[in-house]
Symmetry: D2
Subunit: 363 residues, 4 copies
């Protein structure tokens, strides 16, 4: 069972290190007959890319994605789609001083203990650079879901540290600011907050939310292929994630059953505490997730650590880092949501076919 | 890719419905040479069983587990371990009136739309009765982890609705009360709360926490086989779960990097915000999870719904139900934690062998 | 990745030992809405069962199959179908003398070296008793394929040792004799041969052939999910199999390209050297396989071996054995063919849907 | 479950088309700490490459393999190893005339019916060009097996059409001639045969044999993860393969049990009819396979076919083709044997650990 692959019938395998020659992915099981261009994949990559504003890392990758296989005459053929992006702006020498030290809160220590060696340049395989490939693959999945079902996937920044971002929700504003903030009135507060944080040299966590509307009922399966279980794994596999919620999430701990159960009428459900998933299977309501991102541990503020020989050391992480990795995570969360949904559509189609059973449906 | 199976090299496949003839599981890939008796599996099952106190469902199953294969002369042989428990106290006629209705907050509606038919007796496959098999399999995994590594897995009730349960943590008390509450001083408050709730006819959510100590560093893998990603899926696959946290979880949203990163000294880590996992790989610190359970939707308080023909209906769920499913979920969360850890140990051993690399290790 | 499971989206997990309490299987991913009765499964089991004639082992199992889950009101629900058959005629004490010896040509030696212990009663997990569950699962698959596509699967004995059995092919005769021999004129020769063999105390190999007609084009996939690759694995996983051919098989070694390539006209292919598979994908022609079964090694004629301490020993295998395991293998080969085909139909449907592309098709 | 991936814990995913920009693979789960250079991989690729003699296709690829990830400072890190080879000598216009026709004996027809479209340039994904990546991955596996266990894997041409090649077996000669023929006395006969065949415009089949010595007992597992079942799938997944044998293979059909069973003494087995596998698990004897390759169907001799509109057509395949694809298949068979063995070693280590049980062992 593969380490760097996910999906049940739609399989995404990624490869590459932050400062290696390239990153890439293989998308296997994607339906044939879908128009795909490198330009549209690259457009998705640029939404996630660093260097778009002063609030993210200043590494500037061209994200010139090459399609190495699986697309012929601009159309997917059903064979594996391979994408590769060569790294062009890696500055490995920023990292030489930490080659023999473990950065606190990083995977340095655990990779070293697992494998006995590690690619320390920019975090190697544990770098968030890998997530670019999730976004690339997600772009294809989202396009298919939109065209076939009208499914729309929207992600946004729910909180930046202690600042709430979505009390006022204006979807069209999300892409108008560098924070994926849906409330235009909050943008200047976020800018001030981030400017102060950068000056301070510290980092902060974030909450990312996403929703998929238009998902038909019936996707997902008992018991270990639950749609929400796969979403939880997909989200938790993103770098820096520490928590995942579906629907009411942790709020449901304090709820009463009469409050949580979404009653139904012929006109539809009367609430969506469930987050669009009942018994692991989509209900037809929007699928909603919330994802907690920890603050990055790559700080120029010194910290205590040990070196590879076990001696105490003080560490200062230079290099170019995001003071809040959660910001750029919005397109990643969207991508994972799209990929899990498409995988589950295909899995559902395998067992139950394309024609839904003849039952009355509410939404 | 299987629907009712989980695990990467240790594979657990479960089967059975709440009111079908039996439930069971097949455990494939378990190491040979481990002593196993039906009695110790049954003892685990009884911790999760209903009917132990007035605060849970009154269904009383004997949980007489049969070992159908994989154990010879009291020892695992390396071949698949099959367990079966015949259902002896199912009362299906309690459910006949809901055969044609969808219970709000239940999987009735989604199963019906997925498959075009459903086993409506007691929730069929979507019933929490399935989780008994997780506990059975988890008992074997926990035993192996304890004997080989001294790993200890402890779960407890963190909150019951709005009541906090673990401000004062006395591990020995957990099994002394029907709530798996670690604070003996809180037990009478919990009893009062549950008695009132039962009278009211409503249900409530709960927070379950668990911790595994003694886990060696190096278990887990990049990128989609992260230990925390598999834990998230395992927990979210449990009935009624709406959220999962590792370590600081959603608290990390508001944390600064200097606060969250667990600094290191030759004497060990200076905190465990990470919850024992860095970059998806165990660090040697305790692995900690928190799991949110929603309130059950099976209530005798009437609710609005539709029937299978799409007509409006009022529903009252009789049958025997837990007013708080989170209570009995404690052994289930422990079991899933044990199973994911053992799976990852075996997966780690596949790639990297049993001998850890010669590197200094802090804990 | 599971040891005792096969299939890609249709997953069959089997369990049980020859002389353990029971054998069984879990069929996961089977389509909902299919009528299934224990009686029809048992009828399939009896075709494979021992004790039907003097030419097979005299062990007589009732094969009373229980359906433990996945079927409600006589119809598959889409949830896992669990089957169990309790063993009722195992005579373990026949085997006590070989508990400390390795039977030549058997899995005794290899299980012992793999696991450090083994269930020596009747071969334990390595016994062909396991194949009963393949036949049970195959019965469901064959029914579905027949009803949905009119696919007909036929297996027969191609050779018994040096005796050819299918020069004259009368399909209706296959089930009229205990050898699954399609040539009624050869049956008495087979009986004489087997009677002599039994007297001699020796065993012999066999060739089993099978064909599936009515398979639509397009099932199978590049490159490692080829229909023929999965068939090869499925057949080679049957006890005692040493070789597998698709279409012309080993004859193709000496063929010229002009002879092997099946030319096409608007009326169809002009030959079927390919065995119904081109590039790993079904062509619409009959899918044909041939499977070589070795002679069983359980003989009452003494042989040289070693015991578990490494000392030389002479071994005589008593117990009840088939002098030619290939005979009863015919229903097993049919079952594996049905299961692989159904798995590939579902896999194809996942990626490409149910509606075939609008292209001219020849057959 | 992936289409273009194989392996249980060692996962190989390949991508790329014959005339696309590149072919490549991702090797996931490979042990860390193994020295790897692009040069040694390329050396393996050149053994399989076309254009080495007049007896194979004249396409000349540089096979300049790039290592895109998973190797740091010349050593595997445990993260996914990605290899890519850009195609430099594809001549797609040779194929334009067959874009609208189906070549008999090719995957053209089946891909078209499966996907509704196909990359017709050079066979696209169905081309044997894909097998280069098997050889690349196999080079790493073979190196590991050799260094850790002293396992030696040798493949050779057993038959070329009707010519037997290995009656006299001189292993050192295998790489001294363009046919991988182990009998130096047969080489000139093979050259004459191939020259005549080329003149004729026809093609012929071949038999490839391979053996792995030094495999410890205990690799493989019941029941569907049998070593021989996985070998059968691995071999049958190679382009043009129509049959696979383990050990005595189809000869075992006519054998008696006393002849087939390999008796044992403290000095070792007295034969190897089993081909090194008993009950799906390695016995410590050499693992032996034989693989039947059909004659290629790409011939300049005209043949009858249909076009994509269903009209009759005459086809002549130009382009550069091997008159006997079996010749260059020798390194591919070796590679698949190495990969399956390494996968099974890792799988065995997962369940049973590295230390074999303390039992007497014969070889």
């Amino acid at each position: 069972m593969s380490f760097n692959r996910f999906g049940r019938v739609l399989n995404i395998t990624t490869f590459g290190e932050s400062h290696g020659p390239a990153i890439g992915c293989v998308i296997d099981g994607f339906p044939p007959g879908v128009a795909v261009t490198p330009e549209e994949i690259r457009a998705s990559l640029l939404r996630r890319a660093t260097g778009r504003s002063r609030h993210t890392s200043q590494r500037r990758e061209k994200e010139d994605v090459q399609v190495l296989s699986g697309v012929f005459d601009g159309t997917t053929t059903g064979t594996p789609i391979a994408l590769v992006v060569y790294n062009t702006d890696a500055k490995s020498k920023d990292y030489t001083r930490i080659a023999a030290q473990f950065r606190p809160g990083h995977a340095d220590y655990t990779y070293h203990h697992k494998y006995g060696l590690r690619d320390w340049r920019g975090g190697g395989r544990s770098s968030a650079r890998e997530t670019a490939m999730r976004v690339a693959a997600g772009a294809l999945a989202a396009k298919y879901l939109d065209q076939k079902f009208g499914i729309r996937i929207t992600g946004w920044l729910g909180r930046l540290g202690e600042l709430e971002c979505d009390a006022n929700f204006v979807p069209e504003s999300i892409d108008d600011n560098p924070f994926f903030c849906p409330d235009p009135a909050r943008v200047s507060a976020l800018e001030d907050y981030m400017d102060a944080l950068r000056k301070e040299g510290d980092s902060v966590g974030a909450l990312v939310r996403a929703s998929a509307s238009g998902v038909p009922p019936g996707w997902g399966a008992p018991v270990y292929a639950k749609l929400d279980a796969d979403l939880a794994a997909a989200m938790m596999s993103i770098n820096a994630v520490k928590g995942v919620e579906i629907g009411a999430g942790f709020d449901s701990v304090a709820q009463k059953g009469t409050e949580h159960r979404d009653e139904m009428t012929p006109d539809g459900f009367l609430g969506n505490q469930a987050g669009g998933v009942l018994g692991g299977i989509s209900s037809g309501q929007p699928v909603t997730v919330a994802v907690a991102f920890k603050p990055t541990s790559s700080l120029r503020l010194p910290g205590r650590t040990v070196d590879v020989d076990g001696n105490p050391a003080e560490i200062v992480t230079t290099g170019r880092h995001d003071p809040c990795v959660g910001i750029r995570a919005v397109p990643i969360v969207e991508a994972m949501l799209a990929l899990v949904l498409l995988d589950h559509y295909l899995l559902h189609r395998a067992q139950c076919g394309d024609v839904p059973p003849q039952t009355p449906r509410i939404e």
